[in-house]
């Protein structure tokens, strides 16, 4: 451990108490938080949403919102108490001695300034260098974060860069003044896993190059295991446990930490459980699929130019075929832009698609709204963000009962009874019916969405990233609920996700998507233990593993950007065939 060799504290936080004024009175959001950050150390603040991780960072930076105030404690940066400094002095510290990067690099960069100018500005403010010299420093900063074609990036605007490149620019900006401490607040949460792997590796390398200490705030225990020297686990404003990372993962001393570690989906945890084949009935006869998709194609034109004519085309989904069997969970995995959500939307007829979609034997493409109505009962969708998917002005009871009203399945007393039953079924008290969506937590809201989807007794549920917005412990509960419902009601799930570890836990079969096409498809156990397509391997390798003893060094690191499905108008998709590897495992041909 390198950090133990030069053992002197850079930042010490002592007994920090931060309160926020709320309509219901002052609320303590940080309760006696203390920790020490050593030189060249990565300290991870881990915890679920609302645990006070970000408030800790903002307290250190002196960037708390006006309603919040640090009432007690000390923040010592090399012996100087930051809480005693004036606003002017803090401006010098921010970006100079302590730099911060945020989750969403697009909102942290000024969209109307070139990358070069923003970098130069940051450098000029803190280092008193201008003009050519600042230019040179900016370029060096970009080179340091190993961004491709750094000269060209200097004159580009933030929207011209990909998410991963923008985060590199943010890091370059943060490191341009050689800060002693870098605070990274969920720096890779908005990125795809392959890009996340690149950024994490970069941060590790830069820590050595720049001799910076890092406070990494994350909810992802995989990232913690990958990055941390030490970990502080937070819950409701308190540090529950602070430990050296290996000790924490091997022998957590607090119950909360144990529960948190237990809840994380771990890749490879299902290695020894063979996946059930649902293509056959229990008696061994072939099943009829409840959903058949053949040659599904969705393309969007991108209009532009003076006449607003199509200038390019997004090939969101290309000639895609799959079956879903009764009682089966098929996972669609892939990175952003691979078309997985588009498939979900076209299955529930939110967008029109070419090709064949047969639900329970009935063709649905080209049906009128009237003809579609009975089919809608058979296929329902659960969205990613449960709050956005619920009309905030209606009571949740009305929301869950609405499908029954629309389809004229129940009214009056019977309607209320059925809604009550649905609430009970998803583990919510029936007296919650009169409340509005904003009065519930994220997990409860997702339960409400599930209850609403169940109200029509569907055969298929399309779950589009349905658990990705939830905290791990809540995520585990919702996944359990989904599995219980499947066993009880024989539901089929199309489980759309970017998270390989979650997918491994829930699905029977998995289809890996790249650029609107399936590249590999097969039973879960086979694909996860013996991936064939290079892209599948890359995806699996990029997943951070929640075990600090297996670190990235020995592992393969994916290169480059996530490819884009935007093509020129005359692009003709290649037709590639699949190799059947037996046992239902198919791999698309690759070079």
């Amino acid at each position: 451990m390198t950090y133990q060799q030069n053992h002197h504290p850079v930042l010490e936080v002592r007994n920090l108490i931060t309160r926020v004024a709320t309509p219901a009175g002052a609320k303590t959001v940080l309760d006696n938080v203390s920790f020490t950050l050593q030189a060249e150390e990565t300290l991870c603040l881990a915890g679920e949403s609302g645990s006070g991780k970000s408030v800790t960072a903002l307290s250190i930076m002196g960037l708390l919102p006006p309603s919040a105030r640090t009432t007690q404690g000390e923040i010592l940066l090399e012996g100087r108490n930051l809480l005693d400094l004036s606003d002017r002095q803090m401006q010098k510290i921010r970006g100079g001695d302590i730099a911060m990067i945020f989750q969403e690099p697009m909102t942290s960069l000024n969209p109307v300034m070139t990358i070069g100018r923003q970098l130069k500005e940051a450098i000029s403010i803190h280092q008193d260098v201008y003009g050519k010299e600042a230019d040179a420093k900016a370029l060096r900063a970009l080179d340091a974060v190993r961004i491709s074609e750094s000269k060209r990036r200097m004159v580009q605007y933030p929207h011209e860069l990909s998410g991963g490149m923008r985060q590199r620019v943010m890091i370059a900006m943060a490191l341009s003044c050689n800060p002693k401490v870098l605070i990274a607040d969920e720096p890779t949460t908005a990125l795809d896993v392959t890009i996340q792997a690149q950024i994490l590796t970069l941060m590790n390398e830069l820590k050595k190059d720049f001799q910076t200490s890092i406070i990494l705030i994350t909810h992802d225990m995989g990232v913690v295991a990958e990055m941390a020297d030490r970990v502080a686990v937070m819950n409701s404003g308190r540090i529950i446990e602070a430990q050296e990372v290996k000790k924490l993962f091997q022998a957590p001393s607090e119950a909360y930490t144990r529960a948190l570690l237990k809840a994380i989906p771990r890749l490879g945890s299902m290695k020894d459980t063979p996946s059930e084949a649902k293509q056959l009935t229990p008696e061994g006869k072939p099943q009829t699929p409840v959903l058949e998709v053949r040659d599904l194609t969705v393309r969007f034109d991108i209009n532009g130019g003076l006449l607003n004519r199509p200038v390019s085309r997004v090939h969101a989904v290309e000639k895609l075929s799959f079956d879903l069997f009764p009682g089966e969970t098929l996972a669609l995995v892939g990175e952003s832009g691979c078309g997985k959500s588009t498939i979900g939307k076209s299955l529930v007829s939110l967008i029109s698609a070419k090709g064949t979609i047969k639900i329970d034997g009935q063709e649905v493409t080209g049906l009128s709204a009237q003809e579609l109505l009975p089919v809608r009962r058979k296929i329902q969708m659960v969205f990613q963000d449960p709050y956005a998917a619920l009309d905030p002005r209606m009571t949740v009871g009305d929301l869950v009962g609405e499908p029954l009203v629309i389809h004229k399945l129940a009214h009056g007393r019977e309607l209320i009874d059925r809604v009550e039953n649905l609430f009970n079924r998803v583990g919510l008290p029936a007296d919650a019916m009169a409340r509005h969506p904003h009065e519930f937590s994220g997990g409860q809201r997702q339960r409400i969405c599930i209850a609403r989807a169940l109200s029509l007794s569907p055969k298929i549920i399309v779950a589009d990233e349905s658990v990705s917005a939830l905290d791990v412990s809540v995520q585990a509960q919702v996944l359990d609920l989904l599995q219980e419902l499947q066993q009880e009601l024989g539901l089929s799930y199309l489980f759309i996700s970017h998270d390989m570890a979650v997918v491994e836990q829930v699905c029977h079969r998995v289809a890996v998507m790249l650029l609107g096409e399936i590249v590999e498809c097969g039973p879960r156990d086979i694909v996860f233990s013996n991936p064939q397509h290079p892209y599948t391997k890359q995806l699996l390798d990029a997943v951070p593993i929640a075990d600090p003893t297996v670190r990235r060094k020995e592992r393969f690191l994916p290169q480059g950007e996530v490819p884009s499905p935007v093509r020129s108008l005359d692009y003709k998709p290649e037709i590639r065939s699949f190799n059947n590897l037996g046992q239902g495992h198919f791999v698309r041909e690759y070079a």
Binding site: Q380, M394, E402
Partner: protein
Amino acid sequence: MRVLKALLRRKLGAFGLLVIFMTVAVAFLAPLIAPYPPDLQLFEGLTLEGAPLPPNSQFWLGTDLLGRDLFSRLIYGAQTSLIIGVVANGAAILIGSLVGIVAGFYRGIVGSILMRFTDLMMAFPALLLAIVLAAIFKPSLWIVALVIAMVNWVQVARVIYSETVSLAERDFIAAERTLGASPLRILLKHIAPHLIYSTIVFGTLGISTTVLLEATLSFLGIGVQPPTPSWGNIIFENQTYFASAPWLVFLPGFAIVSLALGFNLVGDAMREILDPTMKGKH
């Protein structure tokens, strides 16, 4: 009832409601309250040189250029201003919301045609349009209200349109579609209720602009025709004497401002009460 109770619990809202209530009461009871008929020219209402009288014990708020009692004219003017404010503004909101919501929800060709027409109306100078319309129809209180509505619906349509567009793209609307909700149901149950805030804001803010537009039209001779008093035409009749008889401008101006303020306060309070996500916050 619940809304009214919540409204009365908020100090500013209750105050606004009081102002509106008083204006409405005065307008209704005008013949009982007013000391003189509004268009009666009194000999003793002018000085020997023919100048208007400042406020005194006989004419509480003074008299105007023709020796009419300003207090009585303001009381009757409340009728005109309220009718114009409520009717013209109501009609503008009705037309504007309808155009905006239909264009925003259905988009496509229907939406394009409606919104290009709205843009056309917006590009047309409002006053010129009002003059044209007033020239075609014979000016009367109701025609003035209609003319104002024709001019004012445009802004409402623009705002409602963009709000409908962004609402229609939200996830919960997509969720309703997947549940099989018909477009009409989505429109009425899931989009329209969200537009209530903007409508209320427009309804209250619009009343002040409406009263002022009526004043402008009256000044140009195409608004409410004298001798019928309106707060607007009282100001414009007397504005040239501002230096020597300031009460003739200030007092009707004060009436306009307080009525507009009353509606604004009530509107703000209503928005807080009707928005479930803001419940309990002030």
